[in-house]
C-alpha cells in the first residue's frame, strides 16, 4: 500500500507538486494525467526519491520512504522502478548489461564493479528480455536500437529490480502508435501477471481510459481529480486541460481541421 500524505515539492518559490494526498492499493494500474507542467513527472520522481520532497510524507507498507538514506534509500529506489520518456539507458553499454543494472541494489559492490554477474541474475535478465521479444538483441549496443526497443529494454530493467511499484513517466511519448501499443501492453502484462502496481503518466486520455483502472488528475501541482476513468466527465477534462473537452476526449481520431489554422492560432490551441 502506497500512501502519499500532503506531498509538496518546491523548486525555488514554485511548487511543482502542491499538497498531493492519495493512497494506492497493491496491484492497481493508475494513470496520472494533466497538462504540461502540472507536476506529473515531479510526483513520480519524488516517489522514487530522485527529487526530494519539501513537505509531506510517502509511506510504503507503513515505512516512511521520505526518511530513508544510504543503502535503504537505494533499495527503495530498486523497489519503486522508474521508466522514463527518454528511456535513460546507457547508450554505449549492451542491452544485457543495461538490464543487469536493475540488479545493482541486490548485489555486493565488488561483484557489480568487476561485472562478475551471477549466473542467476543473467538468467533473470534474459528471461525478462525474452518476455518482450528482445532476447535476440541482448548483445547489441543499446544506442543502436529503435525507441520502442529501447523502452522495452528499460521495462526489462525495471522488471529485474523485482519491484513492488513501477513508475512510468510518459513511457510512450516518443513512440509511434505500434510501439505505443507494444509498450503499454508490456506494462499491462507486468501489472496483471506479476501484480506489480503501475503508476503511469500519460498525455493521451484515450490511452489512460483504456489501460488504467484509476486516474489521478493534476493541475498546477494539486490533485484535482481522483477516481475511476468512467467518472472523468467532460467538465473535469476541460478543467484539467483548459480546453474544449471534445478536443481531449470525444472522437477517437482527431478530426482533420477543414482549414489550416492561421499563423499564431496554433500556439494558442
Amino acid at each position: 500500500m502506497l500512501v502519499v500524505e500532503g506531498l509538496t515539492c518546491r523548486f525555488g518559490a514554485k511548487a511543482a507538486v502542491d499538497g498531493a494526498s492519495f493512497e494506492i492499493a497493491p496491484g492497481g494500474f493508475v494513470g496520472v494525467i494533466g497538462r504540461s507542467g502540472a507536476g506529473k513527472s515531479t510526483l513520480l520522481r519524488t516517489i522514487n526519491r530522485l527529487a526530494t520532497p519539501t513537505e509531506g510524507r510517502i509511506l510504503f507498507d507503513g515505512v516512511d520512504v521520505t526518511a530513508l538514506r544510504g543503502k535503504e534509500l537505494r533499495q527503495w529506489r530498486a523497489r519503486a522502478a522508474m521508466i522514463f520518456q527518454q528511456f535513460n539507458l546507457v547508450g554505449r553499454l549492451d542491452v544485457l548489461t543495461n538490464v543487469l543494472m536493475g540488479r545493482l541494489a541486490a548485489m555486493p559492490a565488488w561483484r557489480s564493479l568487476t561485472q562478475a554477474w551471477l549466473e542467476e541474475d543473467k538468467a533473470l535478465a534474459m528471461s525478462a528480455l525474452e518476455q518482450f521479444d528482445m532476447a535476440s538483441l541482448a548483445a547489441q549496443r543499446t544506442d543502436q536500437l529503435s525507441g520502442g526497443q529501447q523502452q522495452r529494454v528499460a521495462i526489462a530493467r525495471a522488471l529485474v529490480q523485482q519491484p513492488d511499484l513501477i513508475l512510468a513517466d510518459e513511457p510512450i511519448a516518443s513512440l509511434d502508435p505500434r510501439n505505443t501499443k507494444i509498450v503499454m501492453d508490456a506494462l499491462l502484462r507486468i501489472n496483471k501477471h506479476f501484480g506489480i502496481t503501475v503508476i503511469c503518466n500519460l498525455h493521451s486520455l484515450d490511452l489512460a481510459r483504456s489501460y488504467c483502472d484509476r486516474l489521478i488528475g493534476m493541475a498546477a501541482g494539486r490533485v484535482v481529480f481522483d477516481g475511476a476513468p468512467s467518472a472523468l466527465t467532460e467538465h473535469v477534462a476541460r478543467e484539467l486541460y483548459d480546453l474544449e473537452a471534445s478536443e481531449v476526449m470525444g472522437g477517437v481520431p482527431l478530426p482533420v481541421p477543414e482549414a489550416v489554422p492561421a499563423l499564431g492560432t496554433a500556439a494558442a490551441a
Binding site: 522514487n48 530522485l50 543503502k71 537505494r74 533499495q75 527503495w76 529506489r77 530498486a78 523497489r79 522502478a81 522508474m82 522514463f84 527518454q86 528511456f87 535513460n88 539507458l89 546507457v90 547508450g91 554505449r92 553499454l93 549492451d94 548489461t97 543494472m101 536493475g102 545493482l104 541494489a105 541486490a106 559492490a109 557489480s112 564493479l113 561485472q115 549496443r141 528499460a154 530493467r157 525495471a158 529490480q161 499563423l263
Partner: protein
C-alpha cells in the same frame, strides 16, 4: 512557397522594442574590440624593438644555415640517434599515461555533476590550474634538479604538467555527459560508484581516450624540447649538434622527429576511431 502575410512593422516594433533597437553599446562593441586589439598589436611591435632591417640582415644567415643542412646526414651516429628517439617516445608515452592515470580520479572531484559543493571543487580546480600554468619545460628544469639529468626527469615533467591539463579536460568531458543515463542507474538503486562506473564512464571513456592519444602525440614534440635542457632523449642530441654547428646532423635529427610525430599521429588517429566506433566500452 506562398508568401507570408506582410507583418505590421510599427505595431511589432512598439510591442517588442528590444528586438528592433539594439542598444548603442552592443552595436559599438565589435568595432571597439577590433580597434583595441590593433592598438595593442602596434604597441607590442614598437615596445619589443621589432626592426625589419635586423630581420632582413638575418635572412642571409638563415639561408646559409639552410644550405649547410643539405643533405641531411647522421654520419656514424645513427644507432645512437635511434636509441635517443626511442627514449623520447618512451618519455612521452610513460609521462602521458601516468598523467592520465592520476588525472582521472582527481577530475571527478573537479566535476560539478559528481561533486556539487563548491568548497571541494574550487580548490581542486585552482590546484589543477596552477599546475597547468607552469610549462613542461619549467617542470623539466625543476625535476632535473631533484632527480638528476636523464629521461626520468622528463617523464616526471610531462606527468606533472599534463596531470593539470588532462585533469581539467577530463572534468569538462565528465560535466558534458548525459545526465539521463546516470539518472537511470540511480533510479534503479545504484550507488555513487555504480553511477560513475556504469552511467558516466561508458560515455566519457571514448572522449578521454581521444584526448590522451592526442596528448601522447603532442608530447612527442614536448619530449624533444625538454631533452634540450637535459631531460634525456633526442632533444639532447639535437642541442649538442646545434652547439657544434653540425647542420647536416641537425637536419637529420629534425627529420627523424617529424617522421616519428607523423607516425604517431597516424597511429593515434586510427586508434581513436577504433575506440569511438567500438561496439561497447564495458
Amino acid at each position: 512557397m506562398k508568401e507570408l502575410e506582410k507583418p505590421d512593422t510599427a505595431a511589432l516594433r512598439a510591442k517588442y522594442p528590444d528586438a528592433f533597437e539594439r542598444p548603442a553599446a552592443a552595436r559599438l562593441a565589435t568595432p571597439a574590440m577590433i580597434a583595441a586589439a590593433l592598438a595593442v598589436f602596434i604597441f607590442g611591435l614598437h615596445d619589443l624593438g621589432f626592426e625589419p632591417a635586423k630581420f632582413i640582415a638575418g635572412l642571409k644567415q638563415l639561408g646559409w644555415i639552410t644550405m649547410m643542412m643539405i643533405p641531411p646526414d647522421p654520419g656514424t651516429s645513427l644507432p645512437l640517434y635511434l636509441k635517443a628517439l626511442g627514449e623520447t617516445l618512451s618519455i612521452a608515452l610513460l609521462g602521458t599515461t601516468l598523467a592520465a592515470t592520476l588525472a582521472l580520479p582527481v577530475s571527478l572531484l573537479a566535476a560539478r555533476n559528481i561533486v556539487p559543493p563548491n568548497i571541494i571543487r574550487f580548490p581542486v580546480r585552482r590546484f589543477l590550474d596552477s599546475i597547468r600554468g607552469v610549462d613542461t619545460l619549467i617542470w623539466a628544469l625543476v625535476w632535473i634538479n631533484v632527480v638528476g639529468l636523464g629521461p626520468f626527469a622528463g617523464v616526471l615533467a610531462i606527468m606533472v604538467s599534463d596531470f593539470g591539463a588532462l585533469g581539467k579536460l577530463f572534468s569538462e568531458a565528465i560535466e558534458a555527459a548525459d545526465k539521463k543515463q546516470v539518472e537511470g542507474i540511480r533510479a534503479s538503486g545504484g550507488n555513487a560508484f555504480h553511477e560513475i562506473r556504469f552511467g558516466l564512464m561508458p560515455q566519457v571513456l571514448p572522449v578521454i581516450a581521444g584526448q590522451v592519444l592526442y596528448f601522447i602525440e603532442s608530447n612527442t614534440r614536448s619530449a624533444s624540447i625538454i631533452g634540450i635542457v637535459g631531460a634525456g632523449g633526442i632533444g639532447l642530441q639535437l642541442a649538442e649538434q646545434i652547439r657544434v654547428l653540425e647542420w647536416q646532423k641537425v637536419s637529420f635529427l629534425v627529420l627523424m622527429i617529424l617522421v616519428a610525430v607523423a607516425a604517431i599521429d597516424f597511429i593515434s588517429g586510427k586508434l581513436r576511431f577504433a575506440i569511438i566506433g567500438r561496439r561497447a566500452v564495458a
